[in-house]
């Protein structure tokens, strides 16, 4: 009997440790690397706080926040009015925190001799009106249009800034992740795609958009037009452990992490 009692007390003690300072983060795969690195460094400094982190996408994260299953919803798009309404109905007081910025680079295959493009030309390509690189002064080669999936936060931003309400071409390849777009552009001579600046590397070539090359400087001084804020939504003004974590993200150290994982820190 005594033995059972001590096991019982042991279980209580262990669960007590597990539930002390638990932060759950869910959402956008774009924001994921920031949250992951920040959580790692933060937990090293504050071992009593445990952060559990999941991807799943902006919609999943916001839904989890609305259902009370997450403390932070990562999102690469602003919350929609419908989601705001749902949150209010569930008694969740949504607070929007911009934690970093992301620039979308327009990438082509390195073999392509084009090195600049305009917003109008982008719209023409993605709506299917421009089909061949020769129409942009390149060599005669069909354009392989690569887009992100309909419901991704990245597509949402692209749709708003580039398509301006027009429909994406039925012939566009819709791929599931930044990484998939990057490797497909790298493998396909005629391809064009858009990816987070953090995903640029030597396998693809970034184009100047309206004469501006995508970089941390041009996104921050707002001369590069294809950029978006990244969000961490919380229920109410973050306080306690959650407040500490959010403060950490906004700190010098947190913003250095933002830059390390390839995004653009807040000034």
């Amino acid at each position: 009997m005594k033995k059972f009692f001590s096991i019982f007390m042991g279980i209580i003690a262990v669960t007590g440790i597990i539930f002390a300072g638990q932060i759950t983060i869910t959402g956008s795969t774009t924001v994921f690397p920031i949250a992951q690195k920040a959580a790692e460094v933060f937990m090293n400094a504050n071992p009593e706080i445990n952060i559990s982190l999941r991807g799943g996408g902006s919609g999943v994260g916001i839904a989890a926040l609305i259902n009370g299953q997450a403390d932070i919803a990562n999102a690469s798009r602003p919350m929609k009015t419908k989601e705001m309404k749902l949150a209010r109905e569930n008694g969740i007081n949504v607070v929007e925190n911009v934690v970093a910025r992301d620039g979308l680079a327009i990438a082509v295959n390195p073999s392509n001799n084009i090195d600049k493009i305009t917003m109008e030309q982008m719209k023409g390509i993605y709506t299917g009106e421009i089909n061949n690189w020769s129409e942009l002064g390149g060599e005669s080669m069909p354009i392989v249009v690569i887009s992100r999936d309909y419901s991704s936060g990245t597509f949402e931003v692209f749709k708003k800034l580039v398509l301006e309400g027009a429909k994406v071409s039925d012939n566009a390849l819709l791929l599931a992740s930044n990484k998939a777009v990057q490797t497909t552009v790298a493998d396909t001579p005629g391809a064009i795609g858009y990816i987070g600046i953090g995903y640029l590397d030597e396998t693809v070539k970034a184009l100047k958009l309206n004469g501006v090359f995508p970089s941390i400087e041009t996104v921050n001084n707002e001369t590069y037009k294809l950029a978006r804020p990244l969000f961490m939504y919380t229920n109410g003004q973050p306080s306690g452990d959650l407040g500490q974590f959010m403060e950490f993200i906004f700190s010098q150290q947190g913003q250095t992490i933002v830059e390390e994982v390839g995004y653009i820190p807040l000034n």
Binding site: S151, K167, L173, T184
Partner: protein
């Protein structure tokens, strides 16, 4: 006492799988049915434009259904001769030693996770197909069909082989005794006798191919338009569900439309499984 406990544990296990099945059916249909009411059965199933996040949304899933069927048909065209051919070889032609050596390889092929098939298709097959046909991209219906075809072959092969092996030896001997040669015996006697098993294998392969998600997500390209050529990128139903569900708003029309697609897919695979069961039962009774 032990005996009864054991019985109850097993009963619970069996009962739970029924509960799970009905739970899944219920949740898919309760989320998906509203979309038929809101968009209209005909417009949803036969609309040719899939632009769910465009304003106003266009939610016709015919291009997705056709993409799934085309890719699956292509997979069967490839896997049918390979699967049945290898089954005939293993069951009728190969010496026992060769059969014992080959069978594990085919079974191993069946056990490879689909993401690995997808990687193979993306990294090797797609660039190869692109250069072979001199087309802009190798992520298309043909590449998806080939990868799925390889994936489904072991399923068809092992079920067809079971069916062929269970044909009584006396039938073969009778055929040979009547003066038929070996190939005549195989194609006119053994294969017809094992017909139901072979067909069941093919239908099971169909169900596996049409439900496969990872491979088509990785190699089919994902273009939402109506298919014009097998060398063009396509967006099968499974790829649309898997890639759009993640970031969509829960409870939105788009969310429900994805459940609507899941319903269509579920009904197709459920029907193909039922037909398989039916054919196998009928074959057993004969």
């Amino acid at each position: 006492m032990k005996e009864r406990l054991f019985k109850y544990i097993n009963f619970t296990a069996a009962f739970l799988s029924v509960v799970f099945l009905f739970g899944i059916i219920f949740s898919i249909f309760s989320e998906g049915l509203p979309v038929f009411a809101e968009i209209g059965v005909f417009e949803f199933l036969f609309g040719t434009s899939w632009h769910p996040v465009h304003y106003p949304p266009e939610m016709g899933i015919l291009p997705l259904i056709v993409s799934s069927l085309v890719v699956t048909a292509g997979a069967l065209i490839i896997s049918l001769p390979l699967g049945v051919g290898s089954a005939i070889y293993l069951s009728e032609i190969a010496r026992p030693g060769v059969r014992e050596a080959l069978k594990p390889f085919i079974e191993l092929l069946a056990g490879i996770p689909s993401v690995i098939y997808g990687l193979f298709g993306m990294a090797f097959l797609a660039p190869f197909i692109r250069k072979l046909f001199d087309i802009p991209t190798g992520l298309n219906a043909l590449t998806a069909s080939i990868v799925l075809g390889i994936m489904v072959t072991p399923i068809i092969s092992s079920i067809a082989e079971d069916a062929l092996s269970s044909v009584p030896k006396s039938l073969r001997e009778a055929s040979l005794a009547l003066g038929a040669n070996r190939s005549e015996t195989i194609f006119r006697v053994v294969l017809p006798a094992a017909k139901s098993g072979v067909i069941a294998g093919v239908i099971l392969g169909f169900g596996r191919a049409i439900g496969e998600t990872m491979v088509v997500l990785m190699v089919a390209g994902g273009s939402p338009g109506m298919i014009k050529s097998i060398l063009r990128p396509v967006r099968p139903m499974t790829a649309a569900i898997a890639s759009e569900m993640g970031e969509t708003i829960m409870g939105s029309l788009h969310y429900r439309a994805l459940f609507g697609i899941a319903m269509v897919l579920f009904i197709i695979t459920f029907a193909s499984n039922l037909i398989t069961q039916f054919i196998l039962e009928k074959g057993k009774r004969q």
